[in-house]
Structures are given as structure tokens and as C-alpha cells.
């Protein structure tokens, strides 16, 4: 194991690691542009210069391997002077359009300019004008702002493997660009916006939506597939403006897919259910009278808490539970191994944990067709779900139907009781990804209209039935379901799925 000395402090590092990698991990911040922990180092921006004992000139730390007895200095007048020169050089052709640049406020170049700037530019000539254009359906480039760090190019080459982007032109005219007729349209394309250290690459869906310093960021989990990528939601005026991946090496690394990122539009769709027809009391009354003849169909996108409560409800009214889920497309895996799953529901693994491996609705629909079940409760959290014909027929056949859904559907128009459900961004809860990792969903904003979270109305029904005493928060239900666990222990990065409470505490309804 090589031993190195960073600013006088000794460190032991694995052989062959690059210096900047070690420094960042150690907590010694060295300014950089082209280096990204998820990409191969390239060493072109020259910002991460440090002084090492076995070289007379300053070395770029992102490319410098750690060797034994290496002594590194990251501060000092020499290094500061070098950084100032690099900053002045980078700013030669960078336009001063921060006021209208969407990156302003979260821009590495802007931050570094404030911290390490030279102050005055000695460049008096005209700046090079480069073009502004769409790179693909999702990303737009402002060529003027590009500092040719090649982060995006290395991303498409090494991470995605599609390699749409390359550096075109030479010298000060260089910018990242696509080849003619090869748009940047891979399933992970929007990640180039996050890794761009300047405002050159801009997410078209977020363009001009909000200045980032007015926004609030909340850490949550993506629900668009069973991978459960960790994300940070950017909130502005009570709306989710964008999702960005949050580093979690056990789940998604640094990235997320475009589909999950853009899956926020439907939250403010006019087709959202906003008004209730009937309520928890009606559901409780009906189910009490029909105990033993009740079917419950749940989506595998429901949170663990909702599933646990549905299980309590099924026990209380002696009903059968079935599941509806959504599989789409084929599994896509990037060059680096980042996968987009076909299972488009967030919590199938959680359902399997609570209800066993057999997650189908056939048991319920068969019961309806045979006349054993006369009452059906459908609780769905999957947007725009194409209902299987079997379920659709069953809903027509039952004598009483209650639907809790996020979007309007033919089921909700037909139902006797309709409860508008809060979508994933409007409720607290936990979901289990395909690898069995419990992760948190955080309430980002208010639910539209009269929409309530399924966990709360299910608890109300249970209270009316006498199977629960009070309505508690989602975390309260989670604690009930997993004794000894709470949201604090799940944390921001998720944790392994704990043991479920063996005894589901619910009483059968006394008639």
C-alpha cells in the first residue's frame, strides 16, 4: 500500500489510484472542471494543479497516480497563481451571460470564478461566437458557454456507450456537438446536463422554468421503475420542476434514465382525480356488510405502508388481495452496466416481501366471476395504467366498486366510491427496489384537490371498521409493520429490507 502525504498529513491509499480521487475522498477540495468521479479522467482543464515532490512543475492531480512517499501540496501562492491563470484562460471565450443562463447558481465555472478568479481579463479581442442548437429531443447546447471539458463526450462514450457526442472544431472554436443526423437521444441523455460544469448543455424541459436559487431541493426516490434511483427533486412554487440523480453507489451510481427524470409531467395533469365520490365511511360500511365477499386489487407501485394497511383491511373483512403491475419494453443496460428495468412499478419486491411470491390478480377476478366476491376495492398508483381486460370485466360484474387512483380512468367513472389518491410526490412512504433495498419517498408538495394518501384513507376505513384505533403518519405505519425500524434508520440512501412484523395486528370485524 503506497503511503502519501497530503499537506503534511499521511494517508495510505490503494496502488494505482489517481491523486484527485484520493484527495476528494479525503476531503481536501481541489478545484476541477473536467474530472468527474463517475467518468474516466481526462486532464484537459488544468484546474486541479497540485505540487508534488517528485516533479518540478505543477501536476494535474486527476491524472497523477499515487505512488509511495508522494508528498502533495494543494495550497500555496504558486498553485493559486496557476489556478488564476487557468480561470482567466477559461473565461476568455466564455460569455458573461450568467443572468440569462439557467446554470447560474449551480455552475462550477461561476463558483470557481468567485473563489479563484484572477480579477481582470487581459483579453481585449472579440469573443468567439459559437452556435446554439438542439442536440436531441431533450438537450440543447449553448456553444459559447462550452469550455471543452469533454465530460459529456466521455459520458456518452464510456457510460452509455452510444458515443453521439464529440468535440468539433479546434482550439478556441472547439465545442461539444453531435454528428449530423445522429441526435443525442439515448435513454440517459439528460445526464450530460447534470455533469456539464457550465451552462452549455441545458435540459429543455427545465429551460427558463426557475432560477435555481429560488428553488428548494428535496431528496427522494424515483418510482418509474423497480430500480429506485436516488433523486433530488428541484421544487419551485409547489411544483416539481425537475429530478436529478443523487449519488448512491449501491443503486444508481451517478446516473438516472431520461424516462424516470421526465416522469413528473403527469403530476399536474388535468386528468388527475381531484374530487372524491363517497369516502372512507362509505367504504367501511359497504365492506362491513360484505365481509367475506371482498376483493382488493392493489398496484405494485403502492408504498410498503399502503400494502401493509391493505393487508390489515383484507384480514379485517376477510377478503382476497390481488396485484396489478406494469412491465414494459425490454431491459436496457448501458455500457457501464446502468440498467433500466422492464418492471415499471416501484415496489414489487416490497409486495413480494409482504404477500409472498405469487403476485397476481387472478385469484380475485376468478372469485368475482364465480360470484364468491361481490365487492371490489381497486387501489392504483401507476399512472396511465392499461387495465387488463380481466380486471375490467370483473369491475363490471361486481355489485359495488371502490376506486382509489391518481388519474381518471373508465374504472373511476364506473365506481360507486372514488377516492383521489396522492401520487408519489405527494406522500411519504417507503418502497423496496428490485435488490431489496428500502428507500424513502418524501412528500414534495400538496396533493391536488381533495386527493389524500392511500395510507391515510385506508387507516380511516380501518378505524371505522374498528380494526384500528387511530390514524397515524406513514412513519407510524412503517414502525408498526417493521418493529424496531423508523425512517431515520432507512436514511437518505436506503437500507436493507428489515424483518416484517410476523403478526399482522388486525381484528376481524364483529358483525
Amino acid at each position: 500500500m503506497p503511503k502519501i502525504k497530503v499537506d503534511g498529513q499521511e494517508l495510505e491509499v490503494a496502488p494505482g489510484r489517481k491523486l484527485l480521487d484520493v484527495l476528494e475522498e479525503h476531503g481536501t477540495h481541489v478545484p476541477h472542471f473536467c474530472w468527474h468521479p463517475g467518468l474516466k479522467p481526462h486532464g484537459n482543464c488544468r484546474m486541479c494543479l497540485v505540487k508534488v515532490n517528485n516533479s518540478r512543475k505543477l501536476e494535474v492531480s486527476c491524472m497523477y497516480p499515487c505512488t509511495d512517499n508522494l508528498e502533495v501540496t494543494t495550497k500555496g501562492p504558486e498553485i493559486e497563481a496557476a489556478r488564476k491563470t487557468v480561470m482567466e484562460f477559461l473565461l476568455i471565450n466564455h460569455p458573461l451571460d450568467c443572468p440569462i443562463c439557467d446554470k447560474a447558481g449551480e455552475c462550477m465555472l461561476q463558483d470557481h470564478t468567485y473563489k479563484y478568479r484572477h480579477g481582470l481579463s487581459r483579453f481585449h479581442e472579440d469573443k468567439v461566437i459559437k452556435e446554439t442548437k438542439d442536440l436531441g429531443p431533450t438537450v440543447r447546447i449553448w456553444g459559447n458557454r462550452c469550455i471543452s471539458c469533454t465530460r459529456c463526450i466521455r459520458f456518452t462514450d464510456d457510460v452509455v456507450g452510444t458515443g453521439e457526442l464529440s468535440l468539433v472544431n479546434r482550439g478556441d472554436h472547439g465545442m461539444a456537438d453531435v454528428h449530423p443526423d445522429v441526435p443525442l437521444d439515448n435513454p440517459m441523455s439528460l445526464n450530460v446536463v447534470d455533469i456539464c460544469p457550465v451552462g452549455a448543455l441545458i435540459d429543455k424541459s427545465f429551460l427558463f422554468q426557475a432560477r435555481v436559487w429560488f428553488t428548494e431541493r428535496i431528496e427522494t426516490t424515483c418510482t418509474s421503475c423497480s430500480r429506485g434511483c436516488n433523486v433530488t427533486a428541484t421544487m419551485h412554487k409547489g411544483e416539481v420542476k425537475r429530478l436529478q440523480p443523487r449519488r448512491n453507489d449501491d443503486v444508481n451510481g451517478f446516473w438516472m434514465c431520461d424516462a424516470g427524470r421526465l416522469d413528473i409531467e403527469w403530476l399536474k395533469s388535468p386528468a388527475r382525480l381531484r374530487t372524491a365520490r363517497g369516502g372512507a365511511k362509505d367504504v367501511a360500511d359497504q365492506l362491513r356488510s360484505a365481509a367475506g365477499r371482498v376483493g382488493i386489487i392493489l398496484s405494485t407501485s403502492a408504498t410498503l405502508e399502503e400494502m401493509f394497511l391493505a393487508k390489515q383491511l383484507a384480514t379485517a373483512v376477510n377478503g382476497r388481495i390481488g396485484f396489478v403491475s406494469l412491465d414494459q419494453g425490454t431491459r436496457w443496460v448501458s455500457k457501464s452496466g446502468f440498467a433500466i428495468e422492464t418492471d415499471k412499478t416501484a415496489n414489487r419486491r416490497g409486495a413480494a416481501t409482504l404477500f409472498g411470491k405469487n403476485l397476481g390478480f387472478e385469484d380475485v377476478t376468478a372469485g368475482i366471476h364465480s360470484g364468491d366476491l361481490t365487492h371490489l376495492v381497486v387501489i392504483n398508483a401507476i399512472p396511465n395504467l392499461a387495465w387488463p381486460e380481466d380486471i375490467r370485466d370483473a369491475t363490471k360484474k361486481v355489485s359495488w366498486l371502490a376506486v382509489a387512483d391518481v388519474l381518471e380512468s373508465d374504472l373511476s367513472t364506473r365506481a360507486a366510491v372514488v377516492i383521489p389518491s396522492a401520487a408519489w410526490a405527494e406522500k411519504d412512504g417507503t418502497i423496496v427496489n428490485r435488490d431489496g433495498r428500502v428507500q424513502r419517498l418524501r412528500r414534495l408538495h400538496d396533493a391536488p384537490g381533495a386527493a389524500v394518501s392511500d395510507a391515510s384513507w385506508l387507516q380511516e376505513v380501518l378505524v371505522h371498521l374498528g380494526a384500528r384505533k387511530t390514524v397515524v403518519s406513514a412513519e407510524g405505519v412503517f414502525r408498526e409493520a417493521f418493529p424496531g425500524m423508523d425512517y431515520g434508520k432507512v436514511g437518505n440512501m436506503g437500507s436493507a429490507l428489515p424483518a416484517i412484523a410476523t403478526d399482522v395486528p388486525a381484528n376481524t370485524v364483529q358483525k
Partner: protein, 169 residues
């Protein structure tokens, strides 16, 4: 005596108040209203003098007030030579605004010479404190405070000026 007793200090202060009177005469000075009378007479003379001075009141609706240069009144959105709003919706004014009265919604520009224009630009004149920070923050010299100080409205809604209203100012 306890030096930290505040009441003891207060007592001392009370003595200090009358200490400026000549020693031995303080009770007389306090007892005599003659000490008050000259000052009162001087005050009466002053007020009498003022009664015959001309009034400085501006009789407002008939006489109009002309604000001085640099007066900070209602806002105006400026236009360029082609009559387009100069504003590029950079939100600098909204950021600088201490009263948070500026609401901007941006949209892509229809003209090639800029990226961004305001789709909506509203100032809540009732929240505004007329500090002029927006004017200072503007990188495009697109907003300025005019000398208009009469602002009449019958509803709160009227006091939220939209882009058209601000361009008209």
C-alpha cells in the same frame, strides 16, 4: 451601601438632575414658577412669530408636486429602439428585491438577438417599498423607477401591475 443596587444608583441620578441648580437655592428654584415663565414667554413669542409667516403647505390637487430628480416612484419597463421590452427575464431584480414583490415567468424569445423574454412580469405595488434595488440590479437597464407617485386603485388586484401596465408607465 451595595454599589450594585440599581435603586441606589437611581437615587443618585435623581440628585444629579437638580445638581445644576445653585447650591442652597435648589428648593427655591424648583418652587418658583418664575423659572418657567421666561421660557414660556419666549415660546409664546416664537409661536406668535410663526403665526405670521406664510404657510408652506402645498395645496395638492390644485398645485402639483414636482418630484426631484432621482425620485423613486412607480416602475417602468423600458423599450429598445424597436419598441420591444428590454427585459431578458434574468430575475436579477426579483433576486435583489427585498420585498419580494416581483414575479417573473420566462419564456424563450421570439427574436434571434436574445434567449429569454418575460412571459409574465408582475410587480405588486402594495408590497413594493420603492427602494430602487431592481433598477440597480438590472443588467440590461430594462427597469427604472419613474417620478409617478400618485397611485390610486380601488382593489388590491389593480395594484398588481402586469407587463403591459409597466411598459405603459
Amino acid at each position: 451601601m451595595d454599589a450594585h443596587n440599581p435603586h441606589a444608583d437611581a437615587h443618585k441620578d435623581a440628585h444629579a438632575l437638580v445638581a445644576h441648580a445653585p447650591p442652597g437655592l435648589s428648593w427655591l428654584a424648583r418652587a418658583s414658577i418664575a423659572a418657567y415663565l421666561p421660557s414660556i414667554a419666549a415660546g409664546m413669542a416664537k409661536t406668535l412669530e410663526w403665526m405670521f409667516r406664510p404657510a408652506v403647505t402645498l395645496r395638492y390637487p390644485e398645485q402639483q408636486y414636482k418630484p426631484r430628480k432621482g425620485y423613486r416612484g412607480e416602475h417602468r419597463l423600458k423599450k429598445d429602439e424597436q419598441g420591444r421590452p428590454k427585459c431578458v427575464a434574468c430575475f436579477m431584480c426579483a433576486t435583489a428585491c427585498p420585498a419580494e414583490c416581483i414575479t417573473i415567468v420566462a419564456e424563450p424569445a421570439p427574436w434571434p438577438d436574445r434567449d429569454k423574454v418575460p412571459a409574465k412580469f408582475e410587480i405588486d405595488m402594495l408590497k413594493c417599498i420603492y427602494c430602487g434595488m431592481c433598477e440597480e440590479a438590472c443588467p440590461c437597464d430594462a427597469i427604472e423607477l419613474t417620478e409617478t407617485f400618485t397611485q390610486i386603485a380601488t382593489t388590491r388586484k389593480e395594484k398588481i401591475y402586469d407587463k403591459e401596465r409597466l411598459l405603459k408607465n
